[in-house]
């Protein structure tokens, strides 16, 4: 029963996320990621750090991503309003972030297993 409910929830969430996600232009998203300084705190590869959250492999649907960028809940991230980054531009950035490759498993990196 629990598994079935979880499945329904995930399917619903996925459908909602897909319908709410505008189509983004990856190339323009990359340009904006650099122009607007996203890389400064989140890294060129979206790896994050002490100054910014990890973006690579984000599980956030676009709706939640949009909400955080427009009105960051806490920390040092400034609010990026539509005047600075339009809805379409934000969708482009989101599309670019989604292209960051999966990292290698830790077990396959000898230097991280010293």
């Amino acid at each position: 029963m629990k598994t079935a409910l979880t499945l329904v929830f995930l399917l619903t969430a996925t459908v909602l996320a897909q319908t709410a996600t505008p189509t983004g232009n990856v190339d323009n998203g990359k340009r904006l990621f650099l122009r607007d300084g996203c890389y400064q705190c989140h890294g060129y590869a979206g790896q994050g750090g002490l100054n910014g959250a990890r973006l690579a492999q984000t599980k956030l649907p676009f709706v939640a991503f949009n909400a955080i960028v427009r009105n960051p809940p806490s920390g040092n991230m400034p609010p990026f309003r539509a005047k600075v980054m339009s809805d379409q531009e934000l969708a482009d950035v989101y599309a670019y972030i989604k292209t960051f490759p999966e990292p290698k498993p830790v077990k396959d990196i000898p230097l991280l297993n010293q």
Partner: protein, 634 residues
């Protein structure tokens, strides 16, 4: 002893000038008592003596009695007598002169050296232009509670100044410029006075809280002959550090033993290796998590009670605590409060502590408060404040804790420790997962840089002689710091330009112990006074600089970006005034020009490991090396 030619009129003129000066300005130091010296009258030839025993020789004897190993200096005419005596009379040993290209480098080298060696290096500078250069580095050392022994050259007596430069380089009260951020200074007027003040200055610098001190060595006092027998050099006895009041320590022990969730915050605690041993013992007795502020190497980073292995911020530890023991903390207010973040207007602060949480503070800072520079942070309402050196107080606190521990409390405390160890291990595993994310990225990730470096030093007797704050603290998160000398913390007052010279000074301290020193060197920092690379090469200081070259004053670029967004102005201009591009700076060529082995720029992560290996081979052979690595921003 050479003959001295005393001129009566000169003597009287000097005496009159002295009297007028004292009457006019009581606070200003007196004219040195060196009136017995030649002053030319018209038609009278001044005898040029063959003096072979100037006052500066005696000054060197005094300095040798303090067992000062090195003196960092950019040469200056106002202390030329002392300079000459040091290298010729003193044999350039204890202290040995280090040739520096900037006074800021001299002081920062002394700063890094003291944090490893536990005692001051000497610095010489002009009382005017040299001290102006040195002042930012002195403020860093002051805010970092580090002893630096500074001697300033100056010519107080106007009649003794020869020409343009000696007037430009003279000042009424040389130490005034840095009095707000030094612990003590004096302007001796005789050689016995110099001896007494020089010894006193050393003891004051080395009594917690450690701080820089200044002695002004008058030019005439340096260069005029010693009259008669040498003055006596007072015996040096370094003071025992102040220990906490026994009743207060007993009260602290009771609070800690009865706490359900105690947390220890360690700031500038460890002055010596003993502090780590004591802190480990106390933390294990209480099974208390230790939040190390990384101002010093206070606690082993691989210990199960280490509360901040990088990704675990301080606040969850502290907000869960019912008793907080702060040991020489920095900015305890920010550790116990949330403040309006940078992305919001205004400023509101709220305590993050649970109601009823009690704070015990042990710090020597209150024994040396000053008011002008605001390095004391907001006032924190604590429940028990012990004005004492925390390291010196730990042994008695441990004994008191042992005395009041009951079998019941021991059982409860043991259960707490098991939970903490699991949390800590999970955080370390998470660090490795995060390090993998941009593993093959170019520019090279700071996690990859740190892991590559760690792979090649971990089996050596190594030391990191830089802060790791600018590379997302990856060394703290991935390496195992266990020994006192393996980490020296940051600048103190966040004054940039400290990194490269402090690394060189710390590496110099490591040299005689045969330790392998590595520095993660920020590009913006190196550009303040890169001449220190030449100093490292000239004095054969074994040290590997690995550049964190993100091509910007990146902290400031982040601020400008954030404000551009907050004010809806966009980010088109964020590189203006912050980025180090157009042209890119070629740090390998710069380093080669100063005589270092260097490679770079290295942007391919696969090329980094072999480059580190080649550079470390040169460092192990006794020379400095530099690798220019193009890195991710943080």
């Amino acid at each position: 002893m050479s003959k001295s030619n005393v001129d009566r009129r000169g003597f009287l003129r000097g005496a009159a000038a002295t009297a007028a000066s004292v009457a006019a300005q009581v606070a200003v130091a007196q004219t040195p008592n060196i009136a017995a010296r030649p002053v030319a009258e018209k038609g009278v030839t001044v005898e040029v003596t063959g003096n072979e025993r100037p006052g500066s020789d005696f000054m060197v004897d005094v300095l040798k009695s303090l067992d000062i190993e090195y003196c960092a200096a950019n040469p200056g005419s106002s202390f030329r007598g002392l300079h000459e005596s040091m290298i010729n009379y003193g044999g350039n040993r204890n202290p040995e002169l280090l040739t520096c290209c900037h006074e800021e480098s001299s002081v920062a080298m002394a700063h890094g050296y003291a944090k490893v060696e536990g005692k001051p290096m000497m610095v010489m500078a002009h009382g005017t232009v040299g001290l102006q250069h040195a002042s930012m580095a002195i403020y860093n050392a002051y805010a970092d509670r580090v002893p630096v022994y500074i001697i300033l050259g100056n010519i107080l007596d106007a009649e003794y100044r020869r020409g343009n430069a000696e007037w430009m380089h003279s000042v009424q009260d040389a130490a005034a410029m840095v009095r707000d951020f030094t612990k003590w200074d004096d302007t001796p007027v005789t050689l016995p006075h110099f001896a007494e003040s020089a010894v006193r200055a050393y003891t004051i610098a080395m009594t917690p809280p450690y701080e820089p001190v200044v002695i002004v060595a008058d030019g005439a006092l340096q260069e005029e002959p010693i009259e008669g027998k040498d003055p006596r050099i007072p015996k040096l006895v370094v003071s025992a550090p102040p220990q906490g009041d026994s009743a207060a320590v007993a009260a602290a022990a009771k609070m800690l033993v009865n706490a359900e969730n105690p947390v220890i915050v360690a700031g500038r605690l460890a002055r010596t290796p003993k502090a780590i041993e004591h802190l480990v013992e106390l933390a294990e007795l209480l099974q208390a998590r230790v939040h190390d502020q990384r101002m010093r190497m206070n606690f082993p980073s691989d210990h199960p009670l280490y509360a901040n292995p990088g990704v675990l911020p301080a606040s969850p530890n502290i907000s869960d605590a019912d008793v907080i023991l702060a040991l020489e903390p920095q900015d305890l207010y920010s550790s116990t409060h949330s403040q309006t973040p940078f992305n919001r207007y205004g400023m509101e602060a709220h305590s993050i502590l649970k109601p009823g949480t009690r704070i015990i503070n042990i710090s020597a800072l209150e024994l040396n408060h000053k008011s002008n520079y605001q390095d004391f942070y907001r006032y924190v309402e604590v429940d028990l404040n012990i004005a004492a050196d925390a390291e010196a107080t730990l042994p008695s606190l441990i004994e008191e804790v042992k005395r009041v521990l009951t079998p019941d409390r021991k059982r409860a405390i043991a259960e707490r420790g098991t939970k903490t160890a699991k949390v800590n291990q999970a955080a370390r595993d998470r660090n490795r997962e995060l390090a993998a994310v941009a593993w093959d990225a170019s520019p090279i990730s700071t996690a990859r840089l740190s892991a590559e470096l760690w792979a090649q030093i971990r089996n050596e007797d190594w030391a990191l002689v830089s802060t790791d704050r600018m590379v997302s603290a990856w060394p703290t998160r991935l390496w195992n710091f266990t020994k006192h000398y393996q980490h020296i913390g940051a600048q103190g007052a966040a004054g940039v330009g400290y990194g490269a010279p402090a690394s060189a000074g710390a590496a110099l301290a490591h040299k005689k112990h045969g330790r392998l020193a590595v520095s993660i060197q920020c590009d913006g920092d190196l550009n303040y006074a890169p001449g220190v690379l030449w100093t490292a090469a000239h004095h054969k200081i074994p040290l590997l600089y690995v550049m964190h070259n993100n091509k910007a004053y990146h902290e400031e670029r982040m601020y400008i970006t954030a404000l551009g967004a907050r004010f809806n102005r966009g980010m088109d201009n964020i590189d203006v005034g912050t980025a180090l591009i157009n042209p890119d700076i070629d740090y390998a060529s710069i380093a080669k020009g100063y005589g270092l082995y260097a490679e770079g720029p290295i942007a391919d992560p696969a090329a980094l490991g072999p480059a580190i290996k080649r550079a470390l081979a040169r460092v192990k052979a006794g020379e400095p090396a530099l690798l220019d690595v193009r890195t991710q921003p943080r």
